[in-house]
Symmetry: D2
Subunit: 354 residues, 4 copies
Amino acid sequence: MTLPEKTQLLSRTIEHIDITRINVVPLVESMGRMSFSARDLSRAADIYDRMLRDDGCGIILCLAGSLVSAGLKKVFAEMIRCRMVDAIVSNGANIVDQDFFEALGFRHYIAEERLRSGMHDDALRELHIDRIYDTLIDEDDLRVCDETTREIADSLEPRPYSSREFIREMGAYLQEHGCKADESIVHEAFKAEVPIFCPAFSDCSAGFGLVAHQHARGDGPKVSIDSAKDFYELTLLKVKNTTTGLFMVGGGIPKNFAQDIVVAAEVLGFDAPMHKYAIQVTVADVRDGALSGSTLKEASSWGKVDTAFEQMVFSEATLAVPLIVGYAYQKGAWRDRPASRWSTLLESVREVSA
Amino acid sequence: MTLPEKTQLLSRTIEHIDITRINVVPLVESMGRMSFSARDLSRAADIYDRMLRDDGCGIILCLAGSLVSAGLKKVFAEMIRCRMVDAIVSNGANIVDQDFFEALGFRHYIAEERLRSGMHDDALRELHIDRIYDTLIDEDDLRVCDETTREIADSLEPRPYSSREFIREMGAYLQEHGCKADESIVHEAFKAEVPIFCPAFSDCSAGFGLVAHQHARGDGPKVSIDSAKDFYELTLLKVKNTTTGLFMVGGGIPKNFAQDIVVAAEVLGFDAPMHKYAIQVTVADVRDGALSGSTLKEASSWGKVDTAFEQMVFSEATLAVPLIVGYAYQKGAWRDRPASRWSTLLESVREVSA
Amino acid sequence: MTLPEKTQLLSRTIEHIDITRINVVPLVESMGRMSFSARDLSRAADIYDRMLRDDGCGIILCLAGSLVSAGLKKVFAEMIRCRMVDAIVSNGANIVDQDFFEALGFRHYIAEERLRSGMHDDALRELHIDRIYDTLIDEDDLRVCDETTREIADSLEPRPYSSREFIREMGAYLQEHGCKADESIVHEAFKAEVPIFCPAFSDCSAGFGLVAHQHARGDGPKVSIDSAKDFYELTLLKVKNTTTGLFMVGGGIPKNFAQDIVVAAEVLGFDAPMHKYAIQVTVADVRDGALSGSTLKEASSWGKVDTAFEQMVFSEATLAVPLIVGYAYQKGAWRDRPASRWSTLLESVREVSA
Amino acid sequence: MTLPEKTQLLSRTIEHIDITRINVVPLVESMGRMSFSARDLSRAADIYDRMLRDDGCGIILCLAGSLVSAGLKKVFAEMIRCRMVDAIVSNGANIVDQDFFEALGFRHYIAEERLRSGMHDDALRELHIDRIYDTLIDEDDLRVCDETTREIADSLEPRPYSSREFIREMGAYLQEHGCKADESIVHEAFKAEVPIFCPAFSDCSAGFGLVAHQHARGDGPKVSIDSAKDFYELTLLKVKNTTTGLFMVGGGIPKNFAQDIVVAAEVLGFDAPMHKYAIQVTVADVRDGALSGSTLKEASSWGKVDTAFEQMVFSEATLAVPLIVGYAYQKGAWRDRPASRWSTLLESVREVSA
């Protein structure tokens, strides 16, 4: 049961699914007349299509888990390109360790089946290979990604940044140095002026770069990441674009963060309506009371989500997301949808008043 | 099916379990000779006991989900009082919306069984009642909590703060104004100099206060929350106290954040060993590849967690945590364990060098 | 929140998905290069395709849960028609309460979303409406189904029957009286001589009919259902057709029953190899040690399933089954696969010898 | 990573928890004032206590999964001894492969942690060791158990038996040959005249014995297992003892079977009330529409379970069952509860009339 060479372990790359080439509309429509998760998925796809057709509705995509390494990157990049999303709230891993990482020219790899058992993790560590369930990463590549975020931090004027501002700089870096992947969420978002927020931005590869940056700067002026500013900026977007819908993949902090802006707007004295649409794809349990699996009806008691168009889909994301996005893509509502370029809204943050 | 008055809906309070008065040792020991989750739980309790007996081992408690509102507050407060934990990494909800909230004199309430159905959430919203599965909160009380965090922000010198620094100020506020609950994690941690980190600090009641603070300050100097500094500080603790163990309740960002400091220390040029001990209580699935349910063996491939003493317990926290902590409490290793007062280590952050 | 009339509640019928009209091959192939459940599903589809191409491999389909009421009936009926399955082991509900029920002319209905909450179940009972999560049944129709199974029992020669024999009589009943649904598993299996086994046959609508039959017969001669004979018959099929593959939807007794025939053959003195192929679609947990979620590797320790071609897919069946069966259908291996007509093998059961 | 000798692998025995020696009342009472699963568990324990105090209420215990091998045998044996249960409906594994197996003098063993990975299952098969997640069985011992059930079948008058009748003969066998375990569910049930039903009786070790018996008898008279008779007998118990409560551990066929007797009684023309009490401990999902995780409210739409006293507890059984049964045991209601000796009610089955 010894492992092969590192190069052999890292030889089969994860390929990102291309939902523009697969017509899933008949499948998803059929599912709508079935029961259980099939019907829920079909309704979620329909609600997403409604969001896209609702004039002036801003769509916020929330990402948790390891979605990019799992092969969903092209789906999200396509959503940006096709004006199917106006802002993204994500954990750091999807944006930095996985998307920006691939944009630097690195890849994720398919793990041999036996590696899932956990019995070889010590051996993988010796080889500098990191494992995400059935997926492998070259840790040496990841160190380059950490280092690149440090370079970016080092190059910036020392002051507090929202994660959104920092990620925009990462997009500018790709624009300047070239994006070495076929597509990139960070790069597409930069070009389309779609803001990306990571409410726990130090909890990823960028965190390593920022810690190195701050450590080197010592007592001197340095870049800091102001998570309150993130929340403020996303709230302002809600204030300026009151009709909103949430498309949540996984739960956790991105879900809570995006839901909370309704209340934050109210705290600032604005009269912002609840999110009009909300769909969530998750495998989380409702029974432990944690937010990741809490129903969208529950969010309604908090005044965050309206109940007319909400749908939970209990499924692992790699199965459900291609069907939901593929359905909405094929239905084509995005063709008539204008680009929102929400990042530009935030350039003039200071002029906002209640 | 109409609802009763608000006062009647909010009449039965959640009471926090007191594990110092219940001897669970025979139960947990018996479980160790059974199968499945019982045996896992028993081993996790034993590993926690080993952490407490390992001279110089620093223990980091990670909290995700709604644990304080669920009645586990006294368990965690007791862990601080009895020197059974040296640092805490948490989502914001447990620390601010739930613990600090109760310390301000507010309570959580038991929801009637039918409210779980979600069929009454619109009615609850009308009454300003927020629901967490089977638990209720008076939203008007929560607004006071938001406002108090704003007051604290307003009172501080404008500069970037780690969440740890800000939460320490919340503890100082309780010390000064009085803690109106029988016990409080924030207050006990303040007194015992146990640092608390919230890597996504704006994602909670404090976020509302901070957004209000920053909005009012406009272009002027203001308090910001530097999540990179959080990561830097926790990494320094690892550097200064190299033997460590993790006690994780739930997964998400607290789990990832605390695991990552091993790698961050290495990035800074320090030779920090993996976490020597790690236990996690969770209901999350391994099968979606997300971190919350990923095995601790997998973390070993990343060089974060050693595999000799690690144990996952697949259980909802309210069932497992009282047994694990109760067992270790009754076994009494804490009696001979010195107070670590890690917060004091961080006062002199700048002198660290590789 | 009062409910509408019964006729209105039972107005939208469940429609069965037709996988012959949807080409899912590009989707399933793309999933094979992703991670997590997508890759697992793709591999399961490939293993099913291999079973179909393996000359002489007998395929046993195991069904647990409420799959027919959920809209998967046409998938399974098509598998029989297209010689993609050689025997079926099922819980009673799918075969009698749901498939035979529809063949008698009755339907399943889509429940309004709020009915899932459970808050209206008392009202449904008053209306003689039974609920399966999001699906409704007219209990008066179900009583007709019970009564029909009693009629069949009354018409038979009194002796012990295997469930396989009794279900064959149900197929003969449909052949004679006409099948009132577009398709029926029981009827297709009758015509194609595909045996169907229900190891807990009294645990369904047929149980009500049989209890009524036995009650009326009192001390006199009566029909009985010999579950040992079921096991004996399925074992004989393994003996006569040694290369086998399992396609399991859900776990429970059908899974265990079909796995066990390898050991039973050995107990009878035959040298039967393990099941060569095995795939399972389930949402069950591995962590409680119960069989439904136990891995197929574990079955290998029992000498039941070979490990070269086995794959678990953690997904709710309505999402995964159309993709797996649709893939194999479109790949077309069934076109060259001969009909096995295994029921005819069992007519001469008594001549078997070791 | 080679495995040690078989004797070493099978050296640490599973020990059954003794809930009579551990006072869990303060723990369970505290849990009732918490949230989530703790509160649910506490309410389930209270409902079980109410069942025991309700004069004339018959209690049916339903068992699915691998509970006896997991160390819960003594809990169930104690329930029989202390008149805390009046009938048992189980899968075959718990009763035959695990309880009767231990009564023959065999044991279950604790598996080394690494064996759970599935990476050693081929090696275990070579050693004739069967694995249930983290538990091991000597397959040679199991073959003796199969053979003993065959001996029992060979010794009986050839006719259809309910599983209840056959299991009673297994109890008589232990009474005659001696029970070689400290306690046995089958043996205690025999002595206390508590009937045990296995609706899928051939799906276990007894199935192997019965197949061998039937194979050897060829066309001659033989023992058969009439599952319809099982259902008829349990229905008669409901008719004769109309107030009933269900204590369900796991779901599956035992749950459905026991719930269905309310409807079966009605089919026979008796006016039987719904089960007055119902509690279920399970890890199953509600979201796949399968019965194992379906709510007890849903069972109410079928007219099977009353909604006033029902409670689901989402927990793995080894954690929750000792607390629920331990609580009720310590509360002591069983002391004043008469023995029901339901098996004796069934001796005169034929005299029943509507």
